[in-house]
């Protein structure tokens, strides 16, 4: 589903956010990505979304070589990926319902279908009662979960999450990870960037560890006990 081969990303100002990163995610896999703040987790996810281009190396997503994909096709790639952003990225002048429905509007889906799908997604994150609220009226955790609903509403084959539990209490965090596992059981490939080592360990899945832009460890599911802060 996702393949990185010797990928480096250098931002302007000589910041080497990623250096020589290689890994491969099979379809239907669930993988966690961890590392200290500034290690390059967000950068890695942004590269998959084609929000940035790699400086060096090759990235293949969904059988498409991103380095050879013209930028006008980027929306088509993003439409097949659900992304949960570190800072939610909700539209403050649209209701929760309208925010969640965006990917379906973009796909040009029929309104009755949009209604059904949006309400199902909001139900999954426990926010069905808030569909008419405005994002700014919600708590940080609720906003985070609206972002989750928006990411899963289009039923994308690949789900990326950047620090999705940043604003959630332990109980909600666990609920969310359980939701990820459910989706994964339905065949969705899931890649979650997170600091929450305890929770990651509890989930018992493969873990990629980044440090200063380098992939320093790739821990298989059977061996997560090895993961140390």
């Amino acid at each position: 589903m996702v393949t990185f081969e010797h990928v480096s990303k250098r931002y302007s100002g000589n910041v080497n956010a990623l250096q020589d990163v290689s890994f491969h995610l099979d379809p239907g896999e669930m993988v966690f990505l961890t590392g200290h703040s500034g290690a390059g987790k967000s950068t890695l996810l942004r590269l998959i979304l084609m929000l940035e281009r790699a400086t060096r190396g090759q990235i293949v997503v969904d059988k498409r070589n991103l380095g050879k994909t013209p930028s006008r096709l980027a929306p088509r790639i993003r439409q097949r990926i659900g992304m949960i952003f570190q800072d939610h990225k909700l539209l403050s002048d649209k209701t929760v319902f309208d925010n969640v429905s965006l990917p379906l509007m973009i796909a040009g889906m029929r309104y009755p279908d949009i209604r059904k799908r949006v309400r199902a997604a909001l139900d999954k994150v426990g926010l069905l009662s808030k569909e008419k609220s405005w994002p700014l009226m919600l708590s940080g955790g609720e906003q985070q979960r609206v972002g989750v609903a928006r990411a899963i509403v289009g039923m994308p084959p690949l789900l990326l999450a950047d620090e999705p539990t940043g604003n959630l209490d332990p109980e909600l965090s666990e609920d969310l990870f359980v939701l990820f596992r459910q989706l994964n059981a339905q065949g969705v490939t899931v890649l979650v960037a997170s600091h929450d080592l305890a929770l990651i360990r509890a989930m018992g899945q493969r873990v990629l560890v980044l440090s200063h832009g380098r992939l320093v460890d790739d821990i298989p599911a059977c061996d997560v006990g090895r993961l140390r802060p």
Partner: protein, 320 residues
Amino acid sequence: MSLRQIRRKIRAWGRRQLYSFFSSLGTLLSHRLGTLMTILVLGIAMVLPLGLYVSVKNLRAIDLEREEWGTITVFLQLGAGEEKVKTFAGRIGQERNADVVTVSPEQGMEEFSAVSGFGQAIDMFEENPLPWVLQVTPRQVENEKFEETVADLGAWLEGQDGVDLVQVDYKWLKRLAGLLELGDAFVTVLTVMFSLAVVVVIANTIRLDVASRSDEISVLNMVGAGNSFIRQPFLYSGFWYGLLGAFLALLLLNLSMFYLQRPLTQLLDAYGNTFEVMGLGGRGSLLVLLAGGVLGFLGAWLSVRRYLRQFRLEDPPRRS
């Protein structure tokens, strides 16, 4: 691609358009004051060339009743007999295809004293000092050849026996025609300038609108919206601005015409003209609305196109 897939794509496209359409209306309505002010500026900018255009059009219509202007006044030599004058008048009518009105010295005197109020002073003359006067108006002349015909006839009349003085008033015609041409040129210049102004005003409004919603645009970009999906609501907004501006301009135009109708008719009545002030008409109005919409669309397009460039990643080099 199968026919079914194509049909599905077209339907999806239609739904996206619908979504953009309502989203643009929503934005306009949510910033009511700003929208209203923009539309006011646009309406005023558009009504200026329209007003001038309608004025020139109306002047041209008066111009069509130009027999008034083209009449030649012929003063005969003093002491001409009535018999001779009538024969001469008949000859002009036949040979030169013109209407001739004869005014005897007595009639002339009456008119003169009535108009000038010098009745008593004129009574002091023992003999009538006025000559016979003929008013000659060419018949059935096409507009373009009018001046030429009048000038020709004037020259011919001057050459006739017994004619003392010929007065041709076609200099006025020339001036009027010149003025109308100048008016036309003004209309063209104003239309071009104000169309440009409309495009710039709308482009700037949309630019501010886009800038104030740059967060929203970047989010749309990240969740997979293509350029056209992002652009569309702004293009519709531009279209609405232009259309509503044009509508306001038409409203202002018709209001001022209504206001000017009475004094104008009175003025023209005094010149013996019956005259109805002409507006743009249904087709003209429709055209103005359409032009407004198109200009708005264009302004928005120029504005959004520049802005969206910042989201474009550099493209991979083409393999040769």
